[in-house]
Symmetry: C2
Subunit: 140 residues, 2 copies
């Protein structure tokens, strides 16, 4: 998959699945809404945890910042399948212009966030590696 | 989310995203086709690695059998969002009746596998924990 296409497919996807690792290397995966901006992926916590306990994805990142995110396309025509994956290091942003800018980008991508701007913190993932796969062709 | 609905949503999903952890707790996530049978999820390796190197998901499981799988529904109406997640332990099955039965189930779910039965090994995940979330309601 060409770099431009890989980048566009990630940027345009409405949902990614975020994998983190917890204590003892216990894996965790959750769908997230996100934006791609330059070499960073941002996502926000848009609700308070129901239990009062911190979200596992945040606990995990505090322990181990390594994450992966994948976006994919499913079709019953398996030659149309594809996925794009990024690996990087996640960091919880404190209050400040970078987080505000990320929230602006998230609101531009998701009208739902214009109605209710995320109230929680923003997480930045600095992308270190890209990978992609096409059902129709060789791995990128 | 009720148990029956959670189970049906997992069983019927065409693709799940599988998270594993590698050396140093490095997370890995990849889309997989799968079947749910009783308390087990099965997926198969349906192609040879292009590089000759073992697939990372298999390397990771050999090191650490803990996995999570998530299926989700995305909609622009965020009150329609949902996901279902299972956590468990993965094991690569050797040749034998359990793997053959899993391949039969995979072929029943995916006509694509009837045309080309997976040639690689089958992985069984014994499900230990279920979790689910509905955009419209409280977390299950």
């Amino acid at each position: 998959m060409e770099g431009d296409l890989m980048r566009r497919r990630l940027a345009e996807a409405r949902v990614a699945r975020l994998a983190t690792s917890g204590p003892g290397g216990r894996p965790h995966v959750v769908p997230v809404c996100f934006v791609l901006d330059g070499n960073a992926v941002y996502w926000a916590i848009d609700h308070k945890p129901k239990s009062g306990r911190p979200l596992r994805r945040l606990e995990n990142i505090a322990l181990n910042p390594a994450v992966e995110l994948v976006v994919d396309h499913y079709s019953e025509r398996w030659d149309e399948l594809w996925w794009v994956r990024v690996a990087g290091d996640a960091e919880l942003l404190g209050p400040g212009p970078e987080g505000e800018r990320a929230l602006d980008l998230l609101s531009a991508k998701y009208p739902q966030y214009q109605e209710r701007r995320p109230g929680g913190p923003v997480v930045r993932v600095r992308v270190r590696r890209w990978a992609a796969w096409n059902g129709a062709g060789p791995a990128a």
